[in-house]
């Protein structure tokens, strides 16, 4: 213990107004197991993140590995020497990737050669007992196995400093034990390695070499566990921790003692008989049977993912059972039975009250939903506020409460309607020991005084010991049921934990770990030579990200389908749907003359392909009505004596009524009508010389260039390709970075040597490839379905498209690097790209007709430039000589977007 693992001086860290760390000064010894203990939210995670360089420092100074962690150069050098495993089960893993692929990715990030990776992975898997499952997706591992895999990922580069943030929370006791044994063996082999661990399990911490107890962003005490217990004069660390708390916190603590259950009444509130739940092939709950007597406290003990929550959900009717049956109050469970629901209270695992409502409003809402009469409801709300000591915070939002208070609030809500049965799913995880004990006092009171049956799940052994009976659960199966003392006695052990481990071993749950070979220890620092690098930019790391992202996309059918098929479906709908060829317009005539001349004139309408004739109009009122109802879009009114006036040269007036509700259509109809009338008059002049107008003074020859038949499909289809390649690739990449922020795997970017540009470009490449594939499909369907060929230079189109999707995916990355949630990223990307791509790109209105801000907006987005290329190569028969300026513009956009995204993405979390 010569060198310190980390020296922390006067470090303060705030989230908004909240102090996570309050002027902390601490020297964590090196070369040993150093632990940070304390409940959730006391600043342990923040401190670890600061030490590892993952989070940006606000105030103070931290030295780790002999350098200042505020200096970017020291951090850059440290990424390869520090391993950081974030909190949460498998938070830094990629759930769809297999065990091997996860490890392989980390190996690539640290620049290991293939041979090196294969050797390391084989060895780590062997050491952790994961070697039988290299191909299993990480998401399908049990909690214990996930944590082992996370640890392997952290160890693959042989770090000097290992930082573990609550690595065993929610893991079953056997896996926990194996986890620590693994760490011990690693340390025995590499005594110089320093380990810093945060944990909420006090039992675990007793075996560490050194501890710092934290509360409220401050260090309560530090030293060897034995010293700490001795100075507090307690024989467990849990008790010592409570004793060390500031007096005002400690005052609230009362020792929990459970009065024995009065067993006068032996009717059962809850009965499960061979209850089974399967999700596809996966059997989450396997033939679970138990009976819970009225007034009993029945505990469910087991690790995360062992089927506790699923069983509880089946008992509340939230999930239908695959097989077996459940009975509540002696009646078969019926999800639709409102009467039974009134007798049950449920508290789910995570906080599940409305954050936007105050404490009081939450209570009131639930009182009303349980149809408590108004007075009774008010009475109960007041009672709950008092009983659970929430009166002072009645008008605060639940988010402002401490974790312990929130748990009390949830319990208050769950019992507001005085249920006879209370189902509580891990109500105390993450809560500090004082609050946990006070929560238990409430439960005991409910059970013993009010006769409420309590069914509770937990992974704390000391809580399980307080239950009347417990059921040990593992991998969907019940291992044993009975009073805690009996279970301990049955296995001849001294503690419940040992007994549980014994039961687990009987069940043969986990494969024993193979001994460590010496290969890992001998593997020296990774070779850095012979690798493609430009100014520190590493193609290997870029490729690691590309490969990983590609695998993830391929295993997410919804995203892949969205990427490939939605452009196609949208193009088909738009291709058919958006057309400016106004045809088949229903019209009717109001012929008040019915002479030969009027019929001749009207024939020129009925002969037109633009119009479809409806039955004749017989009155002015009829004309009005049919236009109003939208039945006809056009009415032609011929005045009486039209024929006579025409022959006598009196210029009769023909009135044409157009439905102006849709202006574009109305204008087009007017054009048609004028054209038809001109043609009629011209025909007349050649036939009857008498009333002939003078011959045309001037002939006008209209050439619709690029599109002789003037069909909108030739303009719309290239436009739609532009639109699709603007929207879909951008939305895909917009989600890609944010997703990692949400799932937590962004920690790997922050804690490894990968650079920002390597990370972003690596992510971008698979989407560029998908977009190009999607483009190929679009072009193919443009040609085959719509008959729109590429008349100009296909090569220019291909180059342009490549640059364009690079730019649009870059735009998505840009949004993604700033935004925090997936939804916001999707909608912001969609809104920002739709407006210029639809309105100002030339799709609907030529850019030359736009003015002012519209034009500026159009030109500052790649869509308008690519529209030139798309329509130019498809319809205008253009090539590189005409379109090179647009290609250059797209290249500039790519550089600008990717560059801005790189600047926007911070290596450290702030």
């Amino acid at each position: 213990m010569t060198d310190a693992a980390a020296e922390i001086r006067a470090v303060t860290h705030r989230y908004g107004k909240l102090f996570a760390l309050d002027n902390v000064t601490l020297i964590i010894p090196g070369g040993c197991m150093a632990g940070l203990i304390g409940p959730d939210g006391v600043g342990k995670s923040t401190l670890l993140a600061l030490i590892s360089g993952v989070r940006r420092m606000q105030e103070g100074e931290i030295h780790a590995r002999g350098g200042d962690m505020r200096a970017p150069s020291h951090r850059a050098a440290s990424y390869a020497r520090i391993a950081y495993m974030p909190q949460g089960l498998g938070r830094n893993l990629y759930p769809t990737l297999s065990v091997y692929e996860n490890l392989d990715f980390f190996g690539r990030l640290f620049g290991q050669s293939k041979e090196e990776r294969v050797r390391h992975i084989a060895e780590l898997l062997g050491a952790t007992g994961l070697d039988p499952f290299p191909d299993r997706p990480a998401g399908q591992l049990s909690g214990g196995m996930k944590q082992k895999l996370s640890l392997c990922c952290a160890l693959i580069h042989d770090p000097d400093l290992l930082i573990l943030d609550e690595p065993t929370t929610g893991v079953d006791p056997l896996s926990r034990r194996q986890f620590w044994e693994l760490i011990d063996r690693l340390r025995a082999r590499r005594p110089k390695m320093s380990v810093i661990v945060a944990t909420a399990y006090m039992e675990e911490a007793e075996r560490f070499d050194w501890l710092a107890a934290m509360d409220d962003g401050k260090i309560l005490t530090r030293g060897a566990p034995g010293q700490i217990m001795a100075s507090a004069r307690k024989d467990t660390l849990d008790a010592a921790f409570i004793a060390l708390l500031p007096p005002e916190k400690r005052a609230a603590h009362k020792t929990v003692s459970v009065p024995p259950l009065q067993t006068a009444n032996r009717e059962f509130s809850i009965e499960a008989d061979n209850l089974t739940k399967a999700f596809g092939d996966f059997i989450a709950v396997d033939r679970v049977s138990f009976r819970i007597a009225r007034g009993e406290i029945f505990g469910f003990l087991g690790s995360n993912g062992c089927g506790k929550s699923t069983t509880m959900k089946m008992l509340t009717g939230l999930l239908p059972a695959t097989a077996g049956s459940a009975r509540l109050f002696g009646k078969k469970l019926d999800a639709g039975d409102m009467e039974t629901r009134r007798r049950v209270g449920y508290m789910s695992q995570s906080f599940s009250l409305y954050g936007e409502l105050t404490v009081r409003q939450n209570l009131e809402l639930h009182a009303r939903l349980f149809s408590l009469p108004k007075e009774r409801g008010a009475e109960r709300v007041a009672e709950m506020l008092k009983r659970f000591e929430l009166a002072e915070v009645a008008d605060s939002a639940p988010e402002d409460l401490s974790l312990g208070m929130r748990q009390r609030l949830q319990l208050a809500v769950a019992i507001i309607h005085e249920p006879e049965v209370l189902i509580l799913d891990e109500p105390t995880s993450g809560v500090d020991p004082v609050a946990r004990d006070s929560f238990w006092l409430s439960l005991i009171e409910l059970s013993r005084n009010d006769g409420v049956t309590i069914f509770i799940s937990t992974h704390f052994m000391n809580e399980a010991e307080r239950c009347d009976r417990i059921s040990l659960m593992h991998a969907g199966k019940v291992l044993a049921i009975g009073a805690p003392a009996r279970l301990v006695a049955e296995k001849g052990k001294s503690t419940l934990e040992d007994a549980f481990v014994a039961y687990l071993e009987d069940a043969g749950s986990e494969v024993a770990a193979a001994p460590l070979t010496d290969a890992l220890a001998s593997s020296s620092n990774t070779k850095e030579a012979n690798r493609a690098r430009f100014f520190g930019f590493d193609l290997g790391r870029l490729w690691a990200n590309t490969y990983r992202e590609s695998l993830e996309i391929l295993r997410d059918p919804l995203r892949l389908a969205f990427a490939l098929f939605s452009p196609l479906i949208l193009m088909i709908t738009f291709g058919y749907g958006i057309s400016f060829d106004v045809e088949n317009l229903p019209y009717a005539v109001f012929d008040q003359d019915r002479a030969l001349e009027s019929r001749e004139f009207l024939e020129s309408f009925s002969g037109s392909r633009y119009f479809v004739q409806e039955s004749d109009i017989n009155s002015t009122a009829d004309l009005e009505r049919r236009l109003v109802s939208g039945e006809i879009k056009l009415a032609v009114e011929i005045p009486p004596n039209f024929g006579r006036d025409l022959i006598s040269g009196k210029t009769p007036e023909v009135a044409v009524w157009i439905d102006g509700a849709m202006p574009f259509r109305a204008e087009t109809i007017r054009g048609y009508v004028e054209g038809i009338t001109h043609k009629y008059l011209a025909d007349q002049s050649t036939r009857h010389d008498s009333a002939a107008p003078p011959p045309a003074l001037v002939n006008m020859e209209t050439r619709f260039r690029y599109n002789q038949s003037f069909k909108s499909v030739y303009a719309i289809i290239p436009g739609v390709i532009m639109l699709m390649l603007a929207l879909v690739p951008a939305m895909m990449t917009a989600v890609s970075v944010v997703r990692e922020k949400e799932t937590g795997s962004i920690a790997n970017f922050r804690s490894t040597p990968v650079r920002r540009l390597e990370f972003l470009l690596g992510k971008q490449l698979p989407y560029v490839a998908i977009s190009l594939l999607s483009f190929a499909m679009l072009v193919l369907s443009a040609i085959t379905i719509f008959g729109v060929p590429v008349r100009g230079s296909a090569a220019t189109l291909a180059i342009g498209t490549f640059l364009y999707v690079f730019a649009t995916t870059g735009f998505g990355l840009l949004v993604s690097s700033f935004i925090r949630t997936q939804v916001a990223a999707i909608f912001i990307t969609a809104v920002i790209s739709i407006i210029p791509a639809v309105n100002f790109s030339g799709l609907l209105v030529p850019v030359s007709s736009l003015s002012g801000s519209g034009r500026a907006l159009g030109l500052t987005f790649p869509a308008a430039w690519y529209h030139q290329i798309s329509i130019g190569t498809f319809t205008k028969e253009l090539g590189f000589t005409q379109l090179w300026p647009d290609l250059i513009a797209l290249g500039v956009f790519t550089l600008a977007f990717v560059g801005a995204a790189t600047l926007g993405l911070h290596k450290q979390e702030s």
Binding site: T316, G317, L318, M338, S350, L353, Y354, L357, L369, P373, L558, S566, L570, T573, N584, F601, K633, G649, T651, P652, E653, V654, W657, D659, G660, A661, P663, F664, R665, A666, R670, G671, V673, T677, L681, Q684, P694, A696, V698, N699, M700, T702, R703, R705, F710, A715, P718, L727, V823, F827, A830, G842, L844, V845, P846, V847, S848, S849, G872, T875
Partner: protein
């Protein structure tokens, strides 16, 4: 006797509070019903506006200059004279949508009654502008030539006096159309996003499970979301109709606004149900976003609110008739522009109710299964 308010009512109040506590969504509502309506209505139009015209004048006569001078805003930008050699390049680059070429001796030939030919090149890839713009150009040229020739001999005699009148919108103003269509579009975007997001948020936070173990039925949960979000959106839409569309954009509304609001409520019902339906097919907000964007885009572009319904193939028209947007667009065009009454638009209203009911029924069938499988 005292009647207890239905439980759904308390859920509605809860929904209001949730919405009120979300400043981003509130800002979104305000934005789309004010700024977005204004900028889109005034920003894009399918009218012939600011069309760019070039002239190749090999005649340099008074007549050719006179025709060029007759091309006026707002329909045309001032004509630019270019060289015959530059025609291809100018059109290739999209600088001009129209290029008019006057032949040599044009004016002399007109006066000599030889009927010379003017060539009008139109960029056929500009579908909204090319067709109608060409009609305008032709009539301007004819008029100018005729008045030039007849300036001494009086007016031209036309055998028929054709009077065309656009009912309901005599000046073909597209802002009248776009503004109201944007309101409809925004109603549907917001309804889908707000209700869908409200449901998924409850699922992600686990509060929906909480509701389902209480004596609350799925239909109460769904209706509370429909009522609360619908009410807010309808109020915003009506305010926008009065303040932005009538007030700022000066769009005259001839029909019954009461009837429109009634229809809007039915539309709101069916489109919020659609939002819930989409939400039952996905697990996370991210997936919801990916799925809802194409749905929104299709509803927007193919409802008849952007391009006329008649231009679509019959099969597509028939499919789109099953969407609430198509029904409501046709209802809104009839009531607001053409002043149609209930006796004319009741089929659309009935269709909206039917679509909403069916959608809600499907949601109900999927609800419990989907909610609990996360």
């Amino acid at each position: 006797m005292r009647l207890a308010l239905p439980k759904a009512w308390y859920l509605v109040i809860k929904e209001f509070r949730s919405l009120w506590a979300d400043p981003v969504l509130l800002a979104l509502i305000v934005y789309v019903f004010t700024f977005a309506i204004y900028s889109i209505s005034t920003g894009i139009s399918f009218e012939v506006e600011h069309a760019s015209v070039a002239i190749v004048d090999d005649d340099h006569s008074e007549l050719s200059r006179r025709i060029a001078g007759a091309l006026l805003e707002p329909h045309f930008r001032p004509a630019v004279v270019i060289d015959a050699r530059d025609v291809d390049g100018a059109m290739d680059s999209g600088r001009f949508v129209f290029v008019i070429e006057f032949p040599p001796n044009f004016e002399a030939d007109v006066l000599a009654d030889k009927g010379p030919t003017i060539q009008v090149n139109v960029d056929g890839t500009a579908p909204t502008l090319a067709g109608n713009g060409n009609v305008y150009l032709q009539s301007i040229i004819s008029r100018e030539v005729a008045s030039f020739v007849n300036r001494d001999s009086g007016a031209v005699h036309q055998p028929i006096n054709l009077v065309t009148r656009a009912k309901f919108n005599p000046n073909y103003r597209s802002v009248w159309f776009t503004a109201v269509m944007q309101i409809i579009n925004n109603i549907s975007i917001l309804s889908i996003i707000l209700t869908g997001a409200a449901l998924i948020r409850e699922r992600e936070h686990g509060t929906i499970e909480h509701l389902l173990v209480m004596p609350v039925t799925p239909i109460e949960i769904m209706l509370s979301k429909i009522i609360a979000n619908g009410f807010v959106i309808i109020c915003a839409a009506v305010l926008s109709l009065f303040l932005v569309v009538q007030g700022v954009l000066h769009v005259p509304i001839t029909g019954s606004i009461g009837l429109f609001i009634f229809g809007a409520i039915l539309f709101e019902f069916s489109v919020t149900a659609l939002g819930i339906l989409i939400a039952t097919y996905v697990n996370t907000m991210g997936q919801f976003g990916l799925l809802s964007v194409p749905v929104i885009v299709i509803l927007y572009l193919l409802s008849g609110g952007v391009t006329p319904l008649e231009t679509m193939p019959i099969w597509l028209q028939n499919i789109m008739r099953f969407t609430p947007n198509t029904q409501f667009v046709s209802f809104a065009q009839a009531t607001l522009y053409r002043g149609a009454g209930f006796e004319i638009v009741w089929p659309q209203l009935a269709a909206l109710v039917a679509i909403g009911m069916v959608t809600l029924l499907i949601c109900l069938l999927r609800f419990r299964k989907v909610v609990s499988s996360t």
